[in-house]
Assembly symmetry: D2
Homo-oligomer: 359 residues x 4
Amino acid sequence: MQFGSDNQTGASTQVLEMLTTANSDFTHGYGDDHWCRQAADDLKQLFSCDLEVFFVATGTAANSLALSCLAQPWETILCHHQAHIIQDESTAPEFFTGGARLTAISNQAGKLQTEHLKRYFRQLGEEPPHTPRTSALSITQANESGLVYTPDEIKALCTFAHNRKMHVHMDGARFANAVAALECSPADLTWKAGIDVLSLGATKCGAIAAEAVLFFNRDLAGSFIHRRKRSGHLVSKGRFFGAQFVGWLKDKHWLELAAHANRQAKNLEERLALFPSISLIWPREANELFVTMPERLVDFLHDSGAEFYQWPSHSLPRGIELKNNTSFVRLVNSFATTDEHIDRFCELIHTFESESRSD
Amino acid sequence: MQFGSDNQTGASTQVLEMLTTANSDFTHGYGDDHWCRQAADDLKQLFSCDLEVFFVATGTAANSLALSCLAQPWETILCHHQAHIIQDESTAPEFFTGGARLTAISNQAGKLQTEHLKRYFRQLGEEPPHTPRTSALSITQANESGLVYTPDEIKALCTFAHNRKMHVHMDGARFANAVAALECSPADLTWKAGIDVLSLGATKCGAIAAEAVLFFNRDLAGSFIHRRKRSGHLVSKGRFFGAQFVGWLKDKHWLELAAHANRQAKNLEERLALFPSISLIWPREANELFVTMPERLVDFLHDSGAEFYQWPSHSLPRGIELKNNTSFVRLVNSFATTDEHIDRFCELIHTFESESRSD
Amino acid sequence: MQFGSDNQTGASTQVLEMLTTANSDFTHGYGDDHWCRQAADDLKQLFSCDLEVFFVATGTAANSLALSCLAQPWETILCHHQAHIIQDESTAPEFFTGGARLTAISNQAGKLQTEHLKRYFRQLGEEPPHTPRTSALSITQANESGLVYTPDEIKALCTFAHNRKMHVHMDGARFANAVAALECSPADLTWKAGIDVLSLGATKCGAIAAEAVLFFNRDLAGSFIHRRKRSGHLVSKGRFFGAQFVGWLKDKHWLELAAHANRQAKNLEERLALFPSISLIWPREANELFVTMPERLVDFLHDSGAEFYQWPSHSLPRGIELKNNTSFVRLVNSFATTDEHIDRFCELIHTFESESRSD
Amino acid sequence: MQFGSDNQTGASTQVLEMLTTANSDFTHGYGDDHWCRQAADDLKQLFSCDLEVFFVATGTAANSLALSCLAQPWETILCHHQAHIIQDESTAPEFFTGGARLTAISNQAGKLQTEHLKRYFRQLGEEPPHTPRTSALSITQANESGLVYTPDEIKALCTFAHNRKMHVHMDGARFANAVAALECSPADLTWKAGIDVLSLGATKCGAIAAEAVLFFNRDLAGSFIHRRKRSGHLVSKGRFFGAQFVGWLKDKHWLELAAHANRQAKNLEERLALFPSISLIWPREANELFVTMPERLVDFLHDSGAEFYQWPSHSLPRGIELKNNTSFVRLVNSFATTDEHIDRFCELIHTFESESRSD
């Protein structure tokens, strides 16, 4: 019953087999091998465009390296107040950019909207060099509230940003889940909507440790190889990271893994709807659910072996306050979430409710 | 009619004369001279305690160097949303700290209060190393809304911070104005209330370019000489910066300069109260006024040679919105503000109002 | 015939199998799993001591993170002029330390000796804060000339360094080869000789991507988890990196892999000794050979499919100049170097020599 | 008898008077004033060209800010092994560049020559992104051995550098002394010879604290205002720094001050030549002498109140070793060095020698 994070799984069999296949024989190091070339070709085909692609082992590296190509040290990057880059990656963005600043503008909304950008610029007394220039926007897909941005929403944000001479980064740690949810093409969700750079995560959805940074706007990629090297993210046996992507992308495997995770989230949502003590806080759109439940239920579930995290209260919708003795909780489904996991989880809740009623 | 900033003045005669006196003869370089030693002694006497003191030429350097002694690169520093360190010093804090983060917690209040700290920690899902540790609090005295913190308010903030193992920095660019306003001792406003480090600014109140960083908590000062040197802030002819402080402090000169600025602010406040189109937004407590006035009046005053800045709307009190055709404006009085400046400024407003009525 | 680098191989079967075993089931992320705990325990047993250990994916990350715990940004780290950290890792040490400096002191010697340290300090006009304080020494084992430091040599260097209040780091990217060459214990080569921190590399000797940073001096490790996280080197599915070490260490597998590489280097050395046009430049002590050969032979070998790198001339011994039309060349043997590789390589040389004579 | 450094003097009367003149009235802050504009115009006229100019308070800031415009964090800057930027400015260059590297290439020569550059590139195994790209050259005028580069020497270095796509910085802390020594135009020594950026120091030659960074290659200056602000080097009352330059440049005052310092150095050289125990090590070309003398004489002079520094032995010419009981010593003459200083200094030496002979 692991609903803690999609990084609590191992890798999918297909990814692991491709990695094993890649083990034979000698190749050049540092990504100069046919596995990395194959992965790059597969990604170009998937996104129906030419692009620059770089592989790294972690999402934090992917995001921070991407952002460092979009912001000078005296500039600022706008993001959602619950964005992974501002909430969960220590001060990595500052480290990689040489001290640029993240500015959260979403004001407890579930999704970033152009309205947030407009208000930000309306209130800003920008006066360089005293104030940092606003150089980039970063959005997350699927996002920090478990929601997905539609192509039109992305296009609106990118258009606004480009008009202000900002570039746009997409944190796609759960990009596969968003594609599966929206049933549109990867291109529609990215460069066709104006995204300049995408951090595409395979790790949370079936790989061991494999993230790709894709520059649709290739002019921004010039310094990447230097930044990756000097941050220690150029792996010597690069083939193993290329091979994970080859295995992940082959025969739409990635999309099936993501669709499974989303389906299980839907299943869990439907099951939880039957329990009156549990409330869905954000609409379930991809593989994550955000719900409130009694604190005592949280304890009971944890004690019974279920894994999931309580979530900070300022990621609740604006105006919503937690009731007393209630917790805000995130439940993540993955490619490895089985029906049994969900059954057992719901049985536990049922047991708890029965006991509560009988008290 | 310069109400733009207290840095639009020159230096006071007494400061300039002391600098001239310091010019004669040879001394050692880099602050190893009797002027710097005298200034340090004078400051120890003024604050009635032993302390470590370092001189630099700018307020941004003083603040950023001080903060860099309080936060590791993976930590965060709390501050007011309008603090100079977050609004007006580019990304200097990030540069000097090696990428630590500023977090604004004041939510449009005029002053930081323990309530803001409490809410911050209540909402925080701190989970190192994923989230930055909260290591310091920085407050401004007199502050970003022209208000002064009382000794009790400072003590409450420092006590809360120290209980959370945070250190407290005070940005004292207008510390003299606060002391003059509160008529209490420098010690009461700083170390006796729990302040660990003070950036004490003389520049805005009569010096050419002279700021002192005072460590009441001397344990924090160990790396300062290295940080100052490698950021290019160790001036070779240090005597001239020590001498400014000697001149500034002598015979309570600094306090008289500040008291004059505050008095003129009070005079201006009283005069402006007579004009119905002008509203005081924050109570006038030191040398700055924050008012709203018609946009056309702003234009008229600027066209007539008055200098002052419009201020960003998110420094208005929470819940207050600017009416249409109205501007939010800051008016700063300095040691050099004369009665004539105020008279002419008010006459202009009178002229504008008369003409408006006759329209 | 890959003699280019030991990173041109894949992983050993045993390592790969352990990684596959680790794939089953769920675990916590970020290294909080039984594989990482097992690997840590195995390392403690191997080194016969308690220690702090952290896993990362690349040698550059291991080295730079380790060094960042040994030097403040205003300090300098001494190293060999051909050290990987100064020659092959871009400016990663500067990035991770926040701008500390590397100072090469070896003056074209093959190994660092206390004599180099003595001369450095004799010539140094150290005057903080103007000059950087010397805070650490980094040595490589097996080293940049293919040589190994004996326990006594390490002890002499560490004793000198500790007496100057410096800490000592060992870059052990080829530590296994050194242990195999010296047939002494890992403890003898490290903490018993005074090493404070070791970057222990498994990647070059049989792993996919697995490096461990071992703090024998545990007081230095306090900031590591923060530094690793904010540099993007905390992998989410940490188990896969722990598992590589478990597989690598099991049943002295690591030592067998290294011994094989060393043996093949010895074989190759003996075979090359028969060719008069090839000269061994540094004694062959581990798995690398440094030789000179005619430029035309280099071209012939490359054209025939052999892989190896030409090496910069300032890594030649002091006083040795390359003769005209001669190249300096590095030949690396790995756990995967077979007798056939060596046979074919030598046959090619034989062919070349025969043809040359008949010219 | 202060021969320690030219920063042990105060300011010249003319500079101080101009600063006093600048004190009257209000001006805009942050360099937006007529004093800074006047200073910029004066510098354009002096150098007979258009240029971008920025004022700061210290030489370290001037040098480091200039270098940060010439090197990305993954690049390296070549310099003399005794350059102030590598020997006396802590790790400021690393701090300002975000971790670029300085590489000393002069090998104990007195001046940098194209031969040093050639050897550097011949030995370099440049392989980006593994090795830092070589992006800039920095030379000092007058230099670290008290020597001056002729226009032809500068041109040769710049031509070589530009051919390798490197930019060239000149550290002109003693530029005035070089101009006075060579009796050529400032333009001949800078942009006409290929210099891209000059740190022009007034501090050592008559100012209080005033350095100008001059970009002859204006394309390189784009980020300067941001870099200066976020490093705390944008002074609020900028007029006082502009005014120092106005006073310094007026009526060739700067050149007279420098010529006086040079003349006194020549006088001192001639007087010292009479003492057999004192040997001139580098030719005296500007205002500094580098000599060897008996250690006991050093002690005697210091005890008698003379000020000067012993110099590190690796700044001796290659092949020269200090004899036992001998010290290497630097003697700096300034605009304030009087005949009496020299007389008394030489009398002391005479006394010492007399007493020594009679021992």
